[in-house]
């Protein structure tokens, strides 16, 4: 039993231990352990990434042009983000400039993911934290219809529509086979929505499940499939042909029309279903504007995204700004350089890896990885049956990345706060609108509620940007700018003997970076630091806690054995653990003895 003071938090692990393993409705495997005091307040939080796949070990010695496909398989939820970071890292290393039209198509594919991923997160991974499915049974369809029509012009809102749903729902519940809804925390005192709002949300849960699959068809058109569309070093694999013979085998007018229609439908759904639902639900949970702050009001990071000018990564070009906020100083936006060894470093003091000196962090180009699974003496249980983990020792497969030595939060909220602090109206105005509608002060944004709200606003932003990129694409085609790939450096014979590059990607979940070293046309070293590594990472050598652990601190729990509050805050980050738990071992072969420069 000990008390640790860090970053203004008092970590006290003396209270009752609550273990949630696995956390549901996320990507990958995550375990959360908390201590709660007598009043049910969380006094200590421990985030354990419980899987490791060793992808960068596998990448060593392979063709850099293939790396996108391997890294894309890091995550099938935020599919494509790793592929994009990967092709950018290879292009950076080899000095390849991609054509403008390829840049637009990449932006369009990436914005498509933002819209779809955020939508799926809100309705299918997060909504059940706020929406009580069982309570929806008590709803009056007529009143539900009135509620729906009062917040949006979305056409599926008649009393009959909701009555049919209520009947189906009742039959479903009465069958006793509740499927994915079984054992939910229904009836928990912090479910605050009236039955009608619950019924409406369930209706939209189902509609969104149908609709999300439409959005991704844009990735299918340009990348051939989804999940895991195809990408290409030097551009995009799809060619454009709107005039000549063989156009059926390329991006032609029919394909473009399909893209255009999907974009319009996406804007329609997000602006008329997602955003109204978000605001309606949020209005019942304003108290969550004071819960789950964690690092949100102090340390935030964004690599920026959507270069409007091909091959230009400066804030002049990035539609979503790059920058970092430290110590809550919103007036001072730090510049971010992925190649600066002093800025981005990874620590492993509490991760299941070994460094020669674990008080030092390493920049990804020079990372060392030696997996080292070892439990602390205070662990309850055994090596293969962990009941309670000992966070004073190593306790996670996730490393602890730090920006200028500080843990930071990444994700939609980080991007919105940075955009807001920069005074960018595209980010400031929607935030002000939400604050006004919910009638809450600005600090309420630094919270679980703020994270969820920022994600919704961003989905809408991304959907409108899809339209913008579509317009640019059509203008390019009209002007005859059809090139989609630069093949000058396709052949490995044209490459330098040694090269290194960094590829950024601001993924839906936050800042993602890939670092590559190429030697003799093969990958000599590959390293990724992904959004969930930043957020879910364990403590560092100074016991500084990461975003997940910080955000859970001081959260009041109504019924600790029903960890609804933990789920709400953790889900507000949209965890992606398959991404987070990875490792690089430049010497590859012998994992036990990896030594890296």
């Amino acid at each position: 039993m000990s008390v640790i003071e860090t970053q203004g938090f008092k970590l006290d692990n003396s209270g009752k231990r609550v273990v949630v393993d696995p956390i549901c409705r996320i990507e990958g495997h995550l375990r959360i352990e908390c201590n709660v005091d007598a009043k049910g307040k969380i006094t200590n939080a421990v985030s354990t990434g419980t899987m490791w796949r060793g992808l960068e070990v596998i990448l060593k010695g392979r063709d850099p042009r293939d790396a996108w496909a391997f890294t894309e398989r890091i995550c099938g939820v935020c599919t494509g983000v790793h592929a994009l970071a990967s092709v950018r890292s290879v292009e950076d290393a080899l000095g390849i400039a991609i054509p403008d039209t390829a840049n637009i198509i990449r932006n369009l594919m990436h914005a498509t993911l933002y819209a779809q991923d955020h939508l799926v997160h809100f309705y299918h991974l997060h909504a059940l934290d706020w929406v009580d499915v069982v309570s929806a049974l008590k709803a009056d369809p007529k009143k539900t219809s009135e509620l729906a029509q009062s917040i949006s012009g979305w056409p599926n809102s008649s009393p009959g529509y909701f009555r049919d749903l209520a009947v189906r729902l009742t039959k479903f519940v009465e069958s006793g086979q509740l499927g994915p809804f079984r054992n939910g925390y229904w009836g928990h005192p912090d479910y605050k929505l009236p039955p009608e709002a619950n019924l409406m949300a369930v209706a939209h849960y189902l509609e969104a499940l149908d609709f999300q699959k439409e959005i991704v068809k844009i990735q299918t058109i340009f990348g051939g499939k989804n999940p895991h569309p195809n990408w290409l070093v030097g551009g995009v694999p799809c060619s454009i042909n709107v005039d000549r013979a063989g156009a059926v085998g390329a991006i032609n007018m029919e394909r473009l029309n399909m893209v255009g229609k999907i974009i319009d439908d996406t804007i329609d759904f997000i602006d008329n279903v997602y955003i109204p639902d978000l605001l309606a639900i949020a209005s019942f949970y304003k108290h969550w504007g004071a819960i789950g702050n964690g690092l949100a009001s102090t340390n935030l990071l964004s690599y920026g995204e959507f270069p409007d000018i091909a091959n230009d990564q400066s804030n002049k070009s990035l539609l979503m700004p790059r920058g970092a906020i430290l110590a809550g100083d919103l007036k001072n936006i730090h510049a971010v350089d992925l190649k600066d060894p002093a800025q981005i470093q990874e620590f492993v003091a509490h991760s299941w890896y070994k460094y020669a000196d674990e008080t030092k962090g390493l920049h990804p180009w020079d990372g060392v990885t030696e997996p080292h699974f070892e439990l602390g003496k205070g662990t309850k249980g055994s090596k293969t049956d962990i009941r309670e983990i000992d966070e004073s020792a190593k306790y996670s497969w996730v490393k602890s990345p730090r920006f200028k030595g500080q843990p930071v939060e990444v994700g939609p909220l980080a991007r919105y706060v940075i955009g807001y602090a920069m005074g960018n109206p595209e980010f400031k105005e929607p935030v002000d609108m939400v604050l006004r509608k919910l009638d809450v002060p600005l600090p309420a944004i630094f919270s679980t509620l703020g994270r969820t709200a920022a994600r919704g606003l961003e989905a809408s932003w991304a959907a409108h940007k899809m339209k913008y990129f579509y317009g640019k694409l059509m203008a390019n085609i009209k002007a005859g700018k059809l090139d989609t790939a630069n093949v000058d450096k396709w052949e490995p014979a044209t490459w330098d003997k040694e090269a290194k590059g960094a590829g950024f990607c601001e993924a839906p979940r936050g800042a993602l970076g890939h670092w590559i070293r190429i030697k003799d046309t093969k990958i000599a070293n590959y390293q990724c630091i992904v959004p969930t590594t930043w957020n879910a990472g364990p403590r560092d050598h100074k016991n500084q806690i990461g975003a997940y652990e910080a955000s859970l601190m001081n959260t009041p729990m109504a019924k600790p054995e029903h960890p609804l509050e933990i789920l709400r805050t953790i889900h507000s980050f949209d965890p992606c653990l398959a991404c987070a738990s990875h490792v690089i071992s430049p010497d590859g072969q012998e994992l036990a003895q990896v030594q890296v420069r």
Partner: protein
């Protein structure tokens, strides 16, 4: 939403009359008395939805994501009406203890009657702790849940073959599930991920006909995995004509020629991409200009670059393929032959010089 088989058929536009006809035909085909038909109809009308436990090991969730892309049936209907998705980490409302209890409940209540769907695979190194599940190795959950399952579905290339984490050098020793489940029928549905409609078709086949689909020797349903992408590729005429994309975005690429020279693995990949296509038939990789990378094939990560036609043979150096190895070796053999011939000629000449003694020996 608690629909029986009958409700689903009705919603799909099948009349009560047709339904009853289906029941009598089923009766006849089973060789039963016609009086049994009403019983079968009753059974289908009231049969509870088949419980499915869907677990995830080392994976990326692309299989689950693909499954919810299904257009026919809609994922919504599959999940809520056709089957009972009692355990699914990515969709379940419950977490931790409560989620665990859901699995135990289904195993207990539907012993021998539930389907276990596995996405991803178990690592065996480090006592299996590269994937931890309830504080224990994931491989234990696989064995535990499989014990009382009626059948097992191996979703995707991870569960079927090992996929990316099992690519060389496979640091975690991730293995396909048939290495740890040896006493249950396993349907392998490979692909990274499998096509959404293929996934839902296999589930609905099992539930509708109450039997496993016919499988090939490698455990894959024949209906989707017995032909190569190449066999049904719409660009096949260009292959036969000898018309290829030579460089990315060249004239050939814009005219939709064959991607064979760009390393397309369609000719060696068994999947339904060129027929069923992806995302409600919108496209598939070749149609969108990139070759197939062979993601439904065993060990496709270790067959050389995705952009090489011929597989790299690492044992012979970094850029070797069969032709390079063969030509170099042929050169060596040729040189040896020439050297041997030269020595023979010299010997022969010296023998002649020393007279005809040898001949007389």
């Amino acid at each position: 939403m608690s629909d029986t088989f009958y409700d689903v058929l009705r919603r799909q536009g099948i009349s009560r009359r047709s339904f009853l006809k289906f029941c009598s035909l089923t009766t006849a085909s089973l060789g039963l008395s016609p009086t049994v038909a009403p019983q079968i109809a009753h059974a289908l009308e009231t049969k509870p939805r088949t419980p499915v436990i869907w677990i995830e090991g080392l994976e990326c969730t692309c299989c689950s994501e693909s499954f919810i892309r299904s257009a026919h049936p809609l994922a919504k209907d599959a999940v809520l009406s056709l089957l009972s998705l009692d355990y699914h980490m990515t969709l379940a409302a419950a977490a931790g203890e409560q989620l665990h209890e859901n699995a135990l409940h289904t195993i207990e209540k539907y012993k021998g009657n539930y389907i276990l769907a596995i996405e991803g695979n178990p690592p065996l190194n480090e006592d299996g702790m590269y994937c931890i599940y309830y504080g224990k190795p994931f491989v234990e959950a696989v064995k535990h849940y499989a014990k009382d399952a009626k059948a097992v579905i191996a979703w995707g290339s991870c569960a079927s073959w090992g996929c990316v984490q099992a690519a060389k050098p496979n640091p975690t020793n991730a293995v396909p599930i048939d290495k740890v489940i040896t006493d249950k029928p396993i349907i392998k549905v490979p692909g990274c991920p499998p096509i959404a409609e293929v996934m839902s078709a296999i589930v609905t086949y099992v539930l509708t006909f109450d039997r496993l689909p016919e499988l090939d020797r490698q455990g894959r349903p024949k209906m989707f995995y017995s032909q190569r992408i190449h066999d049904k590729c719409y660009r096949r005429p260009h292959f036969d004509a000898g018309q290829f994309v030579e460089k990315w975005d060249d004239e050939g690429a814009r005219a939709g020629l064959c991607l064979y020279k760009m390393g397309c693995k369609g000719p060696t990949t068994y999947n339904a991409c060129s027929t069923t296509r992806w995302n409600e038939g919108v496209s598939f990789p070749i149609q969108s200009g990139h070759g197939c990378i062979g993601c439904s094939e065993d060990g496709f990560w270790d067959k050389g670059s995705f952009y090489d036609r011929l597989t790299t043979i690492p044992a012979f150096g970094i850029e070797a393929n069969a032709d390079k190895v063969g030509a170099v070796a042929a050169g060596v053999v040729g040189a040896a032959v020439v050297a041997h011939a030269a020595v023979t000629a010299i010997k022969k000449a010296s023998e002649k010089g020393s007279g005809a003694k040898v001949e007389e020996k």
